[in-house]
């Protein structure tokens, strides 16, 4: 009668994967979906933007400065006759490089130090966590300023300046995950049943760590974008003529009383982008960690 025990696959519903469930929950949050669409558009623009830009970012047209939007310059021109549309396309590329590059740098440092602290324990753990506490207490913006003054205003110096000051949160998260998972009942039970370390890592550790990491990274990206633009406010953004959203907003601010339209497109697009990343991060948090957070 062994045949009876084997149910036909048609009767038993296939268990949904947790990612599919997460996507179900995510897609119910309209703001998160709208944010995701904008983020995808932003990413695509950043990738292909420089090729479709009608002008180079450094091209100046001194006969057409401070133009409003027209067919020739669909978003107008600034005080040096830079085409605003092209500048925004290049800024998007720059923002993406910073957002993903700096976040990756922070993430890698955070994962290494967090794993090290969590696995080693003892005095190593204490020293690393002291460093984390320090990075938390110290406003990283000032470290960014000093680092950019020292290493210059190019893409890589700015990327690393933001990256190496922003890892404390990741380190703390990874360490706490390591500590809680190592002593968790499910890992204990799997080990008692004779599961191999690879199996434990794949089935229990990885999914748990993954969801937390995805959420942390999603919140990290808008933070790094803001940090980059904040450098421009005090004149330490990427060196001209390289445009960035921070530089464009700062430049618009300098000319705002006479030429307010310089502000509309850069500030609007930048604000929408930050908002979208925030909505995506929040949606991910709710979809992946339905219990945690608020």
């Amino acid at each position: 009668m062994a045949v009876v025990l084997e149910q036909s696959p048609a009767v038993r519903p296939r268990p949904q994967s947790r990612w599919l469930q997460a996507w179900r929950r995510y897609s119910r949050n309209y703001f998160a979906v709208a944010g995701l669409i904008w983020v995808i558009l932003f990413l695509l623009t950043g990738i292909i933007g420089p090729w479709i830009a009608p002008y180079g970012y450094a091209d100046t047209d001194f006969l057409n400065v401070y133009q409003g939007p027209s067919w020739q310059h669909i978003m107008g021109t600034d005080n040096l006759g830079h085409d605003m549309f092209s500048q925004i396309l290049w800024s998007t590329r720059f923002a993406i490089e910073i957002a993903f590059g700096a976040t990756l740098v922070s993430f890698v440092i955070g994962v290494i130090l967090g794993l090290w602290a969590g696995l080693a324990g003892g005095i190593t753990d204490m020293l690393i966590m002291r460093l984390v506490d320090f990075m938390y207490a110290f406003p990283s913006y000032f470290l960014n300023l000093i680092l950019v003054v020292k290493f210059g205003r190019g893409l890589l110096p700015i990327l690393f300046a933001i990256g190496i000051t922003g890892w404390a949160g990741y380190a703390r998260l990874i360490r706490s995950l390591v500590l809680s998972l190592r002593n968790s009942d499910m890992v204990e039970a799997a080990r008692a049943l004779g599961a191999s370390p690879v199996h434990i890592a794949r089935k229990y550790v990885f999914p748990n760590v993954m969801t937390n990491m995805v959420v942390a990274l999603a919140f990290g990206i808008p933070y790094d974008l803001t940090a980059q633009a904040a450098l421009s406010v005090v004149g330490l953004g990427p060196a001209p003529p390289m445009p960035s959203f921070g530089n464009l907003v700062a430049n618009a601010n300098a000319n705002i009383l006479g030429y307010p339209w310089l502000l509309y497109f850069p500030a609007g697009i930048f604000a929408l982008t930050l908002l979208s990343f925030q909505f995506v991060a929040d949606g991910l948090q709710e979809a992946l960690n339905p219990k945690g957070g608020n």
Binding site: A137, V149, I256, P260, N294
Partner: protein
């Protein structure tokens, strides 16, 4: 006694941390390319001198270096700055050689403090009721609207908001509120609002979360069961407990706001510490830059210390260690 030991430990830690920060910052600036004498107005005047009278140029440079101790070995200069930070005597800046930094700070620091404290207080006054309403009406359209607005406030940085305010009150409705300068009440409104907006979102969301958490607790059900009137239960039992945790958020929020003053002061032309810092970094005026970074960081760290003390005072379960 525990509190005295805790205080001594924390203050020593702050002093050591700040000394380390000053040392690192000074060394990095020392080796950074460019200097004040090549990047500011002085440079053009000196440049002329260099062409007209190379000898006098060298003498002038030497005079400057001697005056600021730049001819001494690096470790001596670093030690000097650490000593400055401990004695609160910061010497003179490059930009204004005749005015001591400390007398500039006496004007600038209160302005920044007023902005930072003012915006945190405003954010609390607006954010708390919003969070409470959202929690009591949770999962209603009101809650969703408030939560979305809070998130919007958190996502838009203060400097973008500040520029948008300038657009609104400088171009769309000119003359309603001043957009530049300092001294009247009107000058305070826009900078405080742009700094407060992200904090309103932070506070509202935090209060909503913690109040929902508290409302699930057993003692709330007990209060309901024994017939405590609804509003009395909300205010006396629920909100009081959810507010204790809020203290832990106020600290980081304040730190965030102190950093924000740098941008907002620069944009609204307010002669505070942040504006000082921005122009000091722009001119590579290192004494001024290091002093302003030092003070802003001190502000953050001392606030964190006060927050820890308040938390231990409000919640007897917390031990100071």
């Amino acid at each position: 006694m525990a509190i005295v030991r805790f205080l001594i430990k924390r203050i020593v830690a702050i002093i050591l941390t700040m000394s380390g920060v000053i040392a690192v910052a000074y060394v990095m600036m020392y080796y950074a390319p460019g200097s004040f004498f090549s990047s500011s107005q002085i440079a053009s005047a000196l440049g002329q001198l260099a062409v007209q009278d190379p000898h006098a140029y060298q003498v002038t440079l030497k005079m400057f270096e001697e005056r600021y101790g730049l001819d001494k070995p690096l470790w001596e200069q670093v030690l000097k700055y650490i000593w400055y930070s401990l004695t609160f005597n910061f010497g003179n800046s490059y930009e204004n050689p005749n005015v001591s930094i400390i007398s500039q700070l006496k004007v600038a620091l209160p302005i920044s403090l007023e902005l930072a404290f003012g915006s945190v207080v405003v954010a609390l006054i607006i954010g708390l009721p919003l969070g409470i309403i959202a929690a009591l009406k949770r999962n209603s359209w009101l809650d969703y609207t408030l939560s979305t607005l809070s998130m919007t406030g958190q996502a838009i940085p203060a400097f973008v908001l500040a520029v948008l305010f300038i657009l609104l009150f400088g171009v769309v409705w000119p003359g309603t509120l001043p957009i530049n300068g300092w001294g009247t009440f009107g000058n305070v409104v826009l900078p405080v609002l742009s700094l407060a907006a992200p904090n309103i979102g932070t506070f509202a969301r935090f209060v909503r979360g913690s109040l929902i958490e508290v409302l699930r607790q057993d003692y709330i059900r007990t209060a309901q069961a024994k017939g405590v009137p609804y509003w009395r239960m909300i205010f006396r039992h629920a909100i009081r407990n959810s507010l204790t945790a809020l203290i832990t958020v106020v600290g980081p929020t304040f730190a965030f706001t102190v950093v924000g003053t740098v941008w907002v002061e620069d944009i609204f032309g307010i002669p505070g510490l942040g504006k000082m810092l921005a122009s000091a970094f722009g001119n590579l005026d290192y004494p001024l830059a290091i002093t302003s970074v030092y003070l802003l960081c001190m502000l953050v760290m001392v606030t964190n210390l006060i927050v820890d003390l308040c938390y231990a005072w409000l919640d007897p379960r917390v031990k100071l260690e």
